[in-house]
Amino acid sequence: MSDTFTVHLKIWRQAGPDQPGKLVDYTLDKVNEHMSFLEMLDVLNEEIVAEGKEEPIEFDYDCREGICGSCNLMINGQAHGPKAMTCSCQLHMRNFSDGDTIVIEPFRAKAFPVIKDLVVDRSAFDRIVEAGGYVSVKTGSAPDANSIPIDKEVADTAFDYATCIGCGACVAACPNSSASLFTGAKLAHLNRLPQGEPERKKRTVAMVKQMEEEGFGDCSNFAECEAVCPKGISISAIAEMRRNYMKAALAGTEA
């Protein structure tokens, strides 16, 4: 087994949504290169609980496999930390060195209010999907699955966009806090499939409108979103969203 090393942590502590927050210093000397970043925080929390002087640090997680989209840490100013295409839960401590100082903050955006410490409320994403991010099909009324052949390429591209895990890193990384990559990804998944075609315009207009209503900013092509996206969602989703939106708007489609 490998040796342990020490890191200095500056972690955002905030008791509740209406409370002021601040960065608090911690030092952890039991870090091992095979630990995930969240396991490192678990170890710190166990120390905090053992000392009993303050409350453990709250952060979101579930699968710890990079697929559920729960985890959301700003690590040294980068959404999900320094490693490309990697969620906070799949970032391992081998990406850090002995003596490093690591700043940990929540994903910040007006549309993502802080609940406590590093936990934020991302329900705005659900409301964007609610506005139209689906194919309207009733249970039990579907035709045979092979009755509509789909080009492998179309299916593969749709899949690429469908892999968005809704983590919100794109929003946190964007100087405008835009949710365009998230929204664009869902649209680019559904809009290109024959199943999604009939609702294409309506869906696009409705989701874009909802995105604005939630308080996300506009996209001005910084491409920071694509750079941090753990699933490598291409920014071309945003261009596609715009084209579809323009067409729908010209055709007078309403949400």
């Binding site: 091992n32 699968c63 710890r64 989209g69 409320d121 035709p143 699955a145 593969d156």
Partner: protein, 639 residues
Amino acid sequence: MNLDAKVPSGPLEEKWSKHLNDIKLVAPNNKRKHDVIVVGTGLAGGSAAASLAELGYNVKSFCIQDSARRAHSIAAQGGINAAKNYPNDGDTVWRLFYDTIKGGDYRSRESNTYRLAQNSNEIIDQAVAQGVPFAREYGGLLANRSFGGAQVSRTFYARGQTGQQLLLGAYQAMMRQVNEGKIEMHTRHEMLDLVIIDGKARGIITRDLVSGEIQRWMADAVVLASGGYGNVFYLSTNAKNSNVTAAWRCHKRGAAFANPCYVQIHPTCIPVSGDYQSKLTLMSESLRNDGRVWVPKEKGDDRHPNDIPEDERYYYLEEKYPAFGNLVPRDVASRNAKIVCDEGMGVGPTGRAVYLDFGDAIEREGKKAISEKYGNLFEMYENITDDNPYEEPMRIFPAVHYTMGGLWVDYNLQSNIPGLFVAGEANFSDHGANRLGASALMQGLSDGYFIIPYTVGNYIADADLGEVTKDHNAFDDAAQNAQDQIDKLFAVDGDKSVVEFHRELGQIMWDKVGISRSEEGLKEAIEQIRELREEFWNNVRVPGESSNYNKYLEFAGRVADFLELGELMAKDALDRDESCGCHLREEHQSEEGEALRNDEEYSYVAAWEFENVNGELNETLHKEDLEFEFVELKQRSYK
């Protein structure tokens, strides 16, 4: 206790359609007068909520994550089975049914399992219509692959992320109903108790995980789809928040818990690396289609795997099971990995691992083809272990993965408490003593899309549901019960953390109620769990307060339940004095180490009834005898 399975009479093929004909319907204009609670938004809960809402019921949906889209089902990698026979390799509904019954070692109910196979095809149609991007062939049609324990290619998949795509399909169907006002969605809410009035399930108690508020919810029926209890082992492939609380609290209110000892151990997981470890990562079983499993023949051979010549490698699965080779079912693969490691042939720093080698496959098909099939899994492996599986074999070891046990249900998926329905991994049905790969997703969606919507309607149409209010003393009692437990947890104020208790429990469970079990070990486990439970209630430390977001408090409640469930699992394993499926009792194996079933005495579902006798857990065993009318009971053989 009434364990009437309510299986319709008649030929197997016609039972479900006959039942559908007999089922009572609720008139469309009446449906909107009925509220249904659905706990859980995984594949089972999500699909049930969406389908019930489409029909017109008012659905109240609950989950503990911040969004329905994050339920644990999202993590399923490999695929979902269906008897479409698109590859024309001779698959039929009967074959899928037969494989499932046989794979489960004849410990599931024939009628339920047959219905699962029947519904399978419709699930694929439904998912494709929703826009789920399954893998396709160049001709534009859906692609299939084979999966552990099957000789036909009947598994549909979306790269290594099938669960995610299917769940997003169900989630999107749900969000559409939220938009229509038919689903009231409550995320970050944990169900803490079930409310029973006049013998019927009429509501639940939840804790708002953000505000800490204890709340009351009322309905005409409750559908529990809260997932499995694999996290009782602490280390497992389950998401960290997966737990047994909702099901366990129903059990404490009278719902029978069936076959708790049936725990599936998945053969292809990334091995444990250290004691800080919070969970284990599964590598999809589809890897066994092309990967060859081996260990060095020589004990303690610590050469680099690439330096070990072919004739010094022991391909134990291929040698022992020539017909299935590396594709033997999970229990067989897991057990054999443990055996070779116990014999000292294990590899890696802990000696608790075997190799899964893609060398031959890469030589045969090229790196590109292999990367197309398994690329993201290889990346995941490399990210976690820092080793490159294109260049050297992966190291794998079995880990707890899935629980076949759960609340007992009849053919309608109704528990023994009227009005309490149980779907997906939370119920015990369909998989018997062992679940075949790609069958859990199938079951979750079959339950949620195609069974629950009809059977809940049947219940509502027929039930004599009087008016009740949230002031009813059953609500007071349950709300008080939930609050009392929280107060009690804080009151202990000890000095050992919740995590430490959980880890200790997990170790007992893994050692003695894991891959193989013995009478002696199980008796010890029961004693040790009791002691640990007592220590928990005397020495646990729960920091913070209950009036806001407090993950440690959530976990404390769940670990308290695991400490009770663990004992029942050991008890059930002790009582089942036979080997079957994943349940290997060391006392019952052939000379070659194969599980020896005892159909004469143990061909039943073990359904446990809970009674609290002055704080002691008292569990009484009831049996639902399994009858096999349509298949002949055979010893499983994968030779």
